[in-house]
Symmetry: C2
């Protein structure tokens, strides 16, 4: 079984994964468009990324290792289901209170789980086989961490101070939490990739 | 004239320089005591640091470049004036509303300025000559950044999530703010040193 990880979570220097009222994405995700190496995405709504060579190598490795995603319903709705397929080109498990009416059946693009974070991660692990499960979004990351399900935290730290917004582990009840590492540091352009292991 | 910098500001992965109600310092400053290389301090109240070789090299370089400090009255009081001399062994400019009664005169250890952040930094620059001025504390860093006085931000990023407390640039009115870099990355043990340049 692979790891459960946040993979490449873009975060501001002051700890926000989104600015106030879902703002700041232009500043946070600038590194996705500023480089020379093109990374195609599987989403019809998300144009190819253009990142630095160092970031590209890291993203390709991460995406290649990823067997399934877990996201929250909020992100699924906010992105309009990425137009039908997640950019990372894997089956996306959506944790929700209620299955969307326009998706009566699970398919290779989206699987809906209503039984909580443990059930969502377990379903994603079935789908991922030997590969990793990536959890996406601050609330999913927090729930996984609190449930003891998270193995690694991958952060793409960007040099911007947003001053407010949504935190990576917003509302974490079990703080303080220590991690081990960084077990890896990769310098991109306009971004620093850091990877930490969750102490068990 | 040297730079104005935050030098080596220890920050949690979620952006806090102190936990809730001045807690969390044991977790934040663990890297100061976990290593093999001893760094003596000039404060009678602060025992020598014991840091990794990589952190020691960085601290020695930073301290060697530092000609004067700017701190706020809060930190001065909280540390009881570091027992008489700041650990970094330089004159410390204290920005305050009112000079403390037990210090009627400035001396080589402490200089008091009541005229605001610009006056405090200008006084420190006089004292520092060709060397750098280090601003210490979240409020001082924020005031310097807002006044356009800050050249570099040095962060010692530690892998702990505190979940609340005092932010590096708490209450920044001018957010979002972009930095350039990191212009330097040094991997210590239990800490990652990052340095950013403030865009002018």
């Amino acid at each position: 079984m692979g790891k459960v990880t946040t993979s490449v979570t873009t975060m501001s220097l002051d700890g926000y994964i989104a600015g106030p009222e879902e703002s700041g994405f232009d500043l946070l995700f600038r590194w996705y468009g500023d480089g020379d190496v093109e990374i195609p995405t599987a989403s019809p709504d998300v144009p190819p990324f253009r990142v630095s060579a160092a970031s590209a190598e890291l993203i390709r490795r991460e995406w290649g290792n990823t067997g399934a995603l877990v996201v929250g319903r909020h992100l699924y709705d906010l992105t309009h289901a990425w137009g039908g397929r997640h950019p990372m080109d894997v089956t996306t498990v959506v944790l929700t209170h209620r299955r969307p009416e326009d998706r009566p059946e699970d398919d290779e693009n989206f699987v809906f789980v209503t039984g909580g974070i443990e059930a969502a991660v377990a379903r994603a692990q079935e789908l991922a086989g030997e590969k990793d499960v990536v959890v996406n979004g601050g609330q999913m990351a927090r729930q996984c961490l609190e449930a003891g399900l998270l193995d690694e935290v991958g952060i793409a730290l960007v040099p911007v101070v947003l001053g407010g917004g949504t935190r990576l582990f917003d509302g974490l009840g079990s703080a303080p939490v220590r991690f081990d590492g960084p077990v890896a540091v990769v310098e991109g352009e306009g971004v620093t990739h850091l990877r930490y292991r969750v102490g068990k």
